[in-house]
Amino acid sequence: MNVTLIDSPVANTANIARALQAVGADVRLTRDAGVIAAASKIVLPGVGSFRAAMTWVIANEIDAVIRRAIAGGASLLGICVGHQILFDASEEMGNTAGLGLVRGNVRKLQGTLPVPQIGWNRVQFDANPLFDGVAAGTPFYFVNSYAASNAEAEIASARYGARFTAAVQSERVFGVQFHPEKSSTAGLRVLRNFVEKIR
């Protein structure tokens, strides 16, 4: 199965590419608009700041290309900040608009625990093809200071001081706040599910 991994400079693409390959994907790492628009399975990575990620996406017109691909039937998985920019906006550094593919806003993690949250955290979810073969409550690896909460499209949640959205699905658009590529067998299973089970 071909997977198009968007080659954002604001991301750790090497680790994600390696993890996708480990679950049997044929990974194309690209910034080419034509390739992305024609893709059937897209992974949108991202680390660091929401604004930096969005700035790059807009400057390279990746937003329009992603929309076109999805309209044409592609499925997409956003990871970490790649998940966050799927939302309408983030309050990081004032207010920054996102891709608006998923309803809701990204906010600073609530509570008094130190941010960023760094580490394994249990993820709760109901049955979803993305989590096939993974038990609810399985820990995944997170590194984040911001997150959506109670998103309409939420399919998984976790707690860090307060509850936050750990994964979303809006039709063929998926997003995970954690790092599947760093979450050992459970993370690889989520990637494999995306590669094999999501149409």
């Binding site: 390696r18 580490g119 394994w120 249990r122 820990p139 690896y141 590194v143 860090y160 979450s183």
Partner: protein
Amino acid sequence: MPSLDILGGRVVRLSRGNFSAVTKYGSVDAVLEKLSLPAGTPLHVVDLEGSRDGRPGALDVVRRLVRRDLRVQAGGGVRTPADARLWFDAGAERIVVGTITADDPRLLEQLVGSFGASRIIPAVDLSNGAIRIAGWTRETAAPLASVLRRIEQTGIEEILVTDIARDGVLAGPSLALYRRLAHETRLRVIASGGVSTLGDIVSVARMPNVSGCVIGRALLDGRFTLTEARERAAAPNAMPERIIPCLDVCDGRVVKGINFAGIRDAGDPVECVRRYEAEGADEIVVLDISASDRGVATSVETVRRIADAIFIPLTVGGGVRSVEDFRAMLRAGADRVAINTAAVQRPELIGEAAKEFGVQAVVLSCDAKRVGDRFEVVIRSGKESTGIDAVEWCRRAEQLGVGEILLTSVDRDGTNIGYDLDLLRAITAAVRISVIASGGAGTVEHFADAIASGGARAALAASLFHDRRLTISDVKAHLTSEGIPVR
């Protein structure tokens, strides 16, 4: 639950129950101002004079607290039902009774009959396993087991347990005592004494028989707030604690040494990390001990090979001196970079790296050595003392922008006699970010101690895992049996 000890109408703390070792915190109003407790907060009030003299004395204080909408649980000096009536009339929701639980079981039954079992909390104050009464000034002959039985028979479900040896000295709660009580009684325990860090709160919240804890000095001294404490206690098992195998590498090979000296070859790093991930390692730490002399260029290739072999987080260190070194390590596949000597020599590096790569990418590796009753930072792989206080340094590094602290006891490194819990407690009490315990692990119990008593959020070991004296699964099985959540 915050606790106020009242003496002469003012808030004080006694150390180990000693009336001649008094710390004064000022008037009740001044203290409430400082704690800024929201309405409805339960508050534990100990009337020290009442407890010593055998009659309630701080009734007026209770009235004032109740007028502020605080829910008071009061104790001290209840010897008769009339004494109890005085507390309830003053507005206390529940009363704590100590002396009579050991001396006069009939009275306990009377109190339950008059006021209800849920409003009476027997206090069991223990010193070396013996019950102490009357303001802790004398010991009782009643054995603990029979006192617990009598309490259970009255229909009471909750007791307040204080380990006098730990009270007011910030040494950590008596986890072993509470665990023992879980076997001896079905009574729920309100833990009291020694809770001094947020880690302590998590540790007591993880004990199934502990229903709450009272916090005195730690809140009064402003070590943390009630909100912070409640948040940590709310979901103590949400985040599993991490077990981290560490590889010391030199010229691309795993090596091992004792007390930072006497190095020998111990294998291929890639084989090693693959095995560790399969065994359940939560993260890998790689320290290139050759890099501190030769720079990071030599370790980049090793890091790349290791990063390619695993799907768990990788922290690397050794010889990192600049933002460019950070970049090289992160590009090679590291998730986080540990800095030690360079940060001590030029603390600004922490902020520079945090700004460029984010706080999560910056780990402070702090090697500390015991010097008298304090801990000093040592650098250059343990070769050089700096005279810098380790607590101060970790606190400063947190402010400058490190995401986590890898804390190594140079004294314990390679000894297998256990982590230095004093060092861990000193640092975990001083910072909010999580601390990885390192240096001294030898048994599965040591890992549990580092987390439950030391307050570490992760525990690291090198040769212990490398030589297969323990597997990561052995450690995790033990932590699970101790109620510590693991992945």
